[in-house]
């Protein structure tokens, strides 16, 4: 991947800012998402809540199903590959996906290495729980970061924890002396240049979205007020009583995240939210996959 391609890929993430990226499993759901104001859709066979319920190995979705979703909407289409599974990524690039999510939601294919994303033309988004993970993924070529959260639970606590952690580490590095930056680079196992960028600009060099457990307009606005630049909603929409209404409300809440009166109105009569699982009661911990 040359510099031009990386700039274009970071640029696409910038265009998605202030938007909601929604998990969809069918072309019909993709169209509902687009009509509700999704900035992009994530095409996958099973949403995280169902992956969690089904157990077993979760893999990249059927390319045919992804292509049907690509044909159903004009907004960007993303899809997930397993951590480290570069051939799944090659397949997604071959069908001209707009963004690949190298995702802990699927069962990891490699317990040491992530994909060398610099080898691809197509952009990658990766999950992170802290600044070290975020910068390591960026160093591997990711052009967008999202919090890992704990997907498929409808419980936002992990996403909040990860976003707060990333932001507090950014603030800490911003206040450091140059000598301290070398030590941080060593401890985080990331190149000095990336640490220096964070120190100078007080932000990541790529866009950072919130993901994992967002289920309500209030959850989405919470993530935005905590500093996310946009929101992924996975199981929260199509596992709820009235997906279109909930999706529209979450989109409006992300645009007006500082307007509690509006969010109050948006939160009325949304029907049943996804039931959710308390993140302390679950068996499969996805956030720990891939560091």
């Amino acid at each position: 991947m040359n510099n031009t391609r990386y700039e274009l890929n970071k640029g696409l993430a910038q265009m998605l800012k202030g938007g909601v990226i929604m998990d969809v499993t069918t072309p019909e759901q993709a169209q509902i998402a687009q009509k509700a104001g999704a900035a992009a859709v994530m095409a996958l066979e099973k949403i995280p809540a169902d992956i969690r319920a089904a157990k077993g190995v979760a893999r990249m979705s059927d390319p045919k199903m992804i292509k049907e979703i690509q044909n159903a909407v004009t907004i960007p289409v993303m899809a997930k590959c397993r951590i480290g599974h570069f051939v799944e990524a090659q397949i997604l690039e071959a069908i001209e996906i707009d963004y690949i999510d190298e995702s802990e939601v699927l069962t990891p294919a490699d317990n040491i290495y992530h994909i060398d994303k610099t080898k691809f033309k197509v952009p990658f988004v990766c999950g992170a729980r802290d600044l070290g993970e975020a910068l390591r993924r960026i160093n591997e070529g990711a052009s967008m970061i999202r919090t890992k959260g704990e997907p498929g639970t409808g419980d936002v606590i992990q996403a909040v924890t990860h976003l707060r952690k990333i932001n507090s580490e950014i603030r800490r590095i911003h206040s450091m002396t140059s000598a301290e930056l070398f030590e941080v680079a060593k401890n985080l196992s990331v190149p000095y240049d990336l640490v220096l960028y964070v120190h100078k600009h007080q932000q990541l060099p790529v866009v950072n979205f919130a993901a994992g457990g967002v289920a309500t307009p209030a959850d989405a606005a919470l993530m935005m007020q905590l500093g996310a630049q946009g929101v992924f909603v996975g199981s929260g929409i199509f596992k709820s009583g009235d997906p279109f209404k909930r999706a529209s409300a979450i989109v409006s809440a992300v645009t007006n995240y500082n307007d509690p009166k509006l969010i109050a109105r948006l939160s009325e009569d949304l029907g049943e939210a996804m039931v959710g699982i308390n993140s302390e009661e679950i068996e499969i911990i996805m956030e720990k996959r891939g560091r």
Binding site: T4, T74, T255
Partner: protein
């Protein structure tokens, strides 16, 4: 002078940073009352379907259309030009104040995104950044083409409306923002020869 930046979705902060570098005050536009005291408006890049939907949802659509028709200077990039176009191939249009036809995602998906380097005026190798960009398929006779790429127009001017299919806000070059402020908002056309 205050420039409004439509802040419903997309890369509006990038435009604000460019205006900051020119010492131009700006406000984010999210509701109708925000439109009251602005001297111009920027429609940023992002997803036009989302922005178009939210324009209607937050009751900005009619007042903004009215203001642009009445001469409010407007500067649109990428998604913004789709909002302004009078015709969108295969879909219904949005504000429809700019008499051009556009085709969405005409260069293909993200793998079709590209940067073209262009020389014009005093600019050498100005990077035209096209990200899932629309394509201008037709223009009305009164629309001025400011720039083309491979013989197809990519930046146009029509009275108070400056619109382009690429992203000058990502290029670290404030040429087009300066052009918008000086030539359209402050109406100092004499400073600029034709491109």
């Amino acid at each position: 002078m205050v420039i409004g930046i439509l802040a419903l979705q997309g890369a509006f902060i990038e435009h604000k940073k460019v205006l900051d570098s020119l010492n131009v005050d700006s406000i984010k536009i999210r509701q109708p009352k925000d439109l009251d005291n602005i001297d111009g408006i920027i429609l940023p890049g992002g997803e036009s379907t989302v922005q178009g939907l939210l324009l209607k949802k937050f009751h900005l659509f009619e007042p903004l259309k009215e203001k642009i028709k009445n001469g409010l200077p407007v500067f649109a990039t990428c998604a913004g030009i789709i909002l302004l176009a009078s015709e969108i191939e295969g879909e219904s249009s949005y504000l429809a104040t700019l008499p051009i036809s556009v085709k969405r995602n005409a260069y293909g998906r993200q793998l079709g995104s590209f940067i073209a380097k262009k020389n014009f005026q005093d600019q050498h190798n100005f990077p035209l950044i096209f990200i899932r960009a629309p394509y201008i398929t037709k223009i009305h006779d009164d629309v001025n083409v400011l720039l083309d790429n491979n013989d197809s127009p990519v930046a146009v001017l029509y009275h108070n409306q400056l619109a382009m299919t690429f992203h000058p806000e990502l290029s670290n070059n404030n040429y087009f923002h300066k052009y918008f402020i000086e030539k359209i908002v402050q109406n100092k056309s004499h400073l600029y020869a034709n491109m």
